[in-house]
């Protein structure tokens, strides 16, 4: 594990620089896009995946010569980028800044799922046609592919520099990035600039995907998610929107990962990136190369609260709905139906939790599944390893999720807008990675088996009705509490932070304290939800609560109406319950979520019941 001679270290350095080059191809595109449109493009990783698949088609199916394959990938992904800009983002030009970010998440889900349906979720080999020689240098070695990757990286950087420096359109790109209005007043068509930038960035991203596929000789439809995040991390290290910084940040990240793997092992790889991200966000949010330690101004702020008049359900109707929900097991006997709805109630707890932080306080969390994971593992391990009764373990797990979740997100409290979303996304990933790697506590990749069910006086509550009633009862209690909270002085304060944190602070609101309180309440609710899931599922592992669950939760709360308690429940029932009941094929489900998210952002940002 700990190489002592010089040779292996040289290999790790070469490997780090090669990987860094690949990240750079992604990060440069992200920086360009951020420059002109102030958007962190979460669909970038998916474009990279599409590039890998176009390359795979070219190499293995059409037997194209390698240079032609590269050209086809660049053109194909460039066109895809232009389409993404036109369809997904231009209509949202005047929407709050977080709206296009959410749209890129939706697009990314749609692209990943479409690839999965077209090419199957299984990995595929991407054989390289390059000669298989390696040059030995000083104990290490460099292969043809390493040189190709370095060449593509340096060549792209040189081309990009020439474009920005010496062409008219390149000047327009720079001018638009510096001052959009002034550029327009010079006659620059900023839509064209945006389209161009998306096309260039996507072409680079696609080529990067192809190179990675060749490097590891494997591609799969989900490869884009992690890669896109790495590109974002690299870009943040260099400073958002800073193109040379993005290259430097990428090489640095590549080296950190490579040396980190050398020291700690492969399964830690992603942990370095996300820990580096959190450190950068907290210590130098403008990147390593920025002069001042300050946050960028306006463009990154703003929540996704569309002004609307929420639909107020009359009390009697709420009473009738609750009574009907409670009485349902008497009328319906099928265990499958009850189990599905029980699952929907569990997800509603997650949605309830997210709608509080994302809707009421305006901190759009993209790592909410991490809270479920903490709650689930805490409760399962307390019950199994500490011998604590399940009925006690569940609330304890809620407390642990509240404390741990708040502590993990605490460094992000001083961030705003997009940065909160990125930081919470990273926190969610960190939770998963710690669960995977802390084997002595969590049992690592094997997962936790035989989680005991909820039981009262020795009688396990596992039958159909209990699977339905218990989550429903917990949900009703929490929903009631949250509704009360929203109409209290505290609820008003939280909404004030969402609407204008500067104004709230100037009226004496201690932002950290209130954000902390909101995350603690949200952590408790989601933690209890996760704990119940663990005891109902009886088996959990690090993949039970993956990142897509966070995206699903976000779709639920936007569907119902951000901040809206009844909306969160409705969102969960619609998105978890209905697809199951209609027996929609499981492989289409994520695709449906992605499409629903996109349509909502575009046409009904206030959700079904309206934002509160």
């Amino acid at each position: 594990m700990f190489p002592t001679s010089f040779g292996p270290w040289l290999d790790y350095t070469i490997n780090g620089l090669v990987i860094g080059n690949i990240y750079a191809l992604l990060a440069v595109g992200l920086a360009l896009i951020f420059g002109v449109s102030h958007l962190i493009n979460f669909a970038h990783g998916s474009v990279y995946m599409v590039g890998a698949y176009i390359g795979w088609l070219g190499i293995t199916k059409l037997n194209l010569p390698l240079p032609v394959t590269f050209a086809v990938v660049a053109v194909g992904c460039g066109l895809l980028g232009a389409v993404i800009e036109r369809v997904g983002l231009r209509p949202l030009r005047n929407a709050p800044r977080i709206a296009p970010l959410l749209a890129t998440i939706g697009l990314s889900v749609v692209l990943d799922q479409a690839a999965q349906l077209l090419f199957s979720p299984d990995p595929r080999a991407l054989p390289t046609q390059l000669p298989n020689w390696r040059i030995a240098i000083g104990g290490g070695s460099i292969g043809a592919l390493d040189l190709l990757i370095a060449g593509v990286g340096i060549g792209s950087a040189a081309l990009l520099y020439g474009f920005l420096r010496f062409t008219r359109l390149g000047w327009a790109v720079r001018a638009t990035a510096l001052d959009r209005d002034a550029a327009q007043q010079c006659g620059v068509d900023v839509d064209k600039v945006n389209r161009t930038v998306f096309a260039i960035a996507s072409a680079l991203g696609g080529v990067s995907g192809l190179l990675v596929g060749m490097y590891y000789n494997t591609i799969d439809p989900n490869m884009g998610f992690q890669a896109g995040l790495k590109g974002i991390v690299a870009q943040l290290i260099g400073g958002v929107g800073n193109v040379p910084g993005a290259i430097a940040g990428s090489l640095l990240l590549g080296l950190i990962e490579s040396y980190g793997i050398a020291l700690f092992g492969t399964s830690y790889r992603n942990l370095f990136a996300f820990v580096a991200l959190i450190l950068i966000l907290v210590l130098r949010p403008n990147g390593l190369f920025a002069k001042a330690r300050r946050l960028p101004p306006e463009p990154l702020t703003g929540t996704f609260i569309a002004p609307s008049r929420p639909l107020v359900l009359p009390r009697w109707l709420i009473g009738v709905l609750i009574a009907a929900a409670l009485a349902l097991p008497f009328a319906v006997q099928q265990p499958y139906l009850l189990q599905t709805l029980g699952n929907a109630w569990l997800y509603a707890l997650l949605a309830l939790s997210l709608t509080l932080v994302a809707g009421t306080v305006g901190q759009v969390s993209l790592g909410h599944a991490g809270l479920l994971a903490i709650g689930a593992y805490a409760s399962a391990l307390l019950a199994l390893d500490a011998g604590i009764p399940v009925l006690l373990a569940v609330p304890l797990a809620g407390v642990i999720a509240a404390a741990l979740g708040t502590a993990l997100v605490f460094p992000a409290f001083r961030l705003r807008g997009h940065y909160v979303s990125i930081a919470t996304l990273a926190v969610g990933e960190i939770v998963t990675l710690v669960i995977l790697n802390w084997e002595s506590l969590t049992r690592g990749p094997i997962g936790v088996t035989g989680v005991p069910p909820l039981s009262v006086a020795g009688t396990p509550l596992v039958s159909g009705q209990w699977v339905y009633w218990i989550p429903l009862a917990v949900l009703l209690v929490f929903a009631g509490v949250q509704t009360r909270l929203l109409s209290s002085h505290l609820g008003r304060t939280l909404r004030a932070i969402r609407e204008d944190d500067v104004a709230a602070r100037s009226y004496g609101v201690d932002l950290n304290r209130y954000k902390g309180l909101a995350f603690a309440v949200a952590g408790f609710v989601a933690g209890v939800g996760g704990a119940l899931m663990a005891h109902f599922y009886s088996y959990i592992n690090h993949e039970t609560f993956p990142a897509p669950v966070s995206m699903l939760a976000l779709t639920m709360v936007i569907l119902g109406g951000l901040g809206n308690v009844a909306g969160a429940v409705l969102g969960a029932v619609v998105l978890v319950g209905l697809p199951e009941l209609f027996r929609a094929a499981a492989e289409y489900r994520m695709l449906i979520y992605g499409v629903v998210l996109l349509l909502l952002i575009r046409f009904r940002p206030q959700g079904l019941l309206g934002t509160v």
């Binding site: 550029a183 327009q184 010079c186």
Partner: protein, 242 residues
């Protein structure tokens, strides 16, 4: 009817539910310097946005050389021949002076003509020749104003619109800027400028309009306006103007 290069015809504009302009009509006679005066929140800067197409009027229209600009985007309007010197200059801070000035010729395809015009504006503002490789953000306020004007000239506009060209400048530079505006006007370019500092604007303008809460309340030859005691007291901040 006079030969107007720019005419606003009964423009009504809104920010959301708030009405900014009420039947605003004015015109810029070809070859003249025309100033629009008014205090804070009178709708001056919004008038610039309307002319440049950054904000669409709800009713009424803007005519440039007799052609309505309705429905055109800002770049399209600029291509028609309107140059702009935005409020607080709005240079591209990390681009060089040369790049900034040449951005003004973005819409033009005649390379030779652009090179010729570039020399011409450098002759007009010799200071910029020394500074051509420097980042625009590092210049002084007065020098930045020169870059902004040079940039606006590079599109060979028939009309230049300026939003508070003297704002934030030292008194020394203010006089230089007024001279520059007259120099530009001397090249045959009509100028429409929005100014808060009425006494300064009226020194060089041919014609003036006074805007108050979205309505033109007075207009006339600049010399008459400058003498009008009512304006000096009510609209121009008496003491300052005196």
């Amino acid at each position: 009817m006079t030969d107007a290069v720019l005419r606003l015809d009964r423009v009504n504009s809104f920010y959301g539910p708030v009405q900014v302009h009420f039947d605003l009509s004015l015109e810029v006679v070809r070859g003249q310097i025309v100033c629009l005066l008014g205090g804070n929140a009178s709708g001056k800067s919004t008038t610039m946005k309307i002319i440049l197409g950054l904000l669409k009027p709800r009713s009424g229209q803007v005519l440039f050389d007799g052609q309505p600009l309705t429905g055109l985007s800002t770049p399209q309007i600029v291509r028609r021949g309107i140059g702009s010197v935005p409020e607080s200059r709005r240079l591209f801070a990390t681009m060089t002076v040369r790049e900034n000035v040449l951005m003004g010729a973005y819409t033009r395809d005649d390379r030779a003509g652009v090179a010729e015009d570039y020399e011409r504006v450098l002759d007009l503002f010799p200071k910029l020749r020394e500074r051509h490789g420097q980042q625009a953000g590092t210049l002084s306020g007065g020098e930045q104003q020169m870059v902004a004007m040079a940039r606006a000239l590079m599109g060979r506009p028939r009309l230049i619109v300026m939003d508070e060209p003297t704002m934030g400048l030292s008194p020394l530079h203010v006089d230089r800027v007024l001279e520059m505006i007259q120099t530009i006007n001397g090249q045959g370019v009509s100028v429409f400028m929005v100014e808060q500092n009425a006494s300064l604007a009226l020194q060089i303008a041919h014609h003036g309009y006074v805007l108050q809460t979205g309505r033109i309340v007075l207009s006339g030859p600049a010399a008459d306006l400058a003498r009008d005691p009512q304006i000096r007291d009510a609209y121009l901040g008496g003491a300052q103007a005196a």
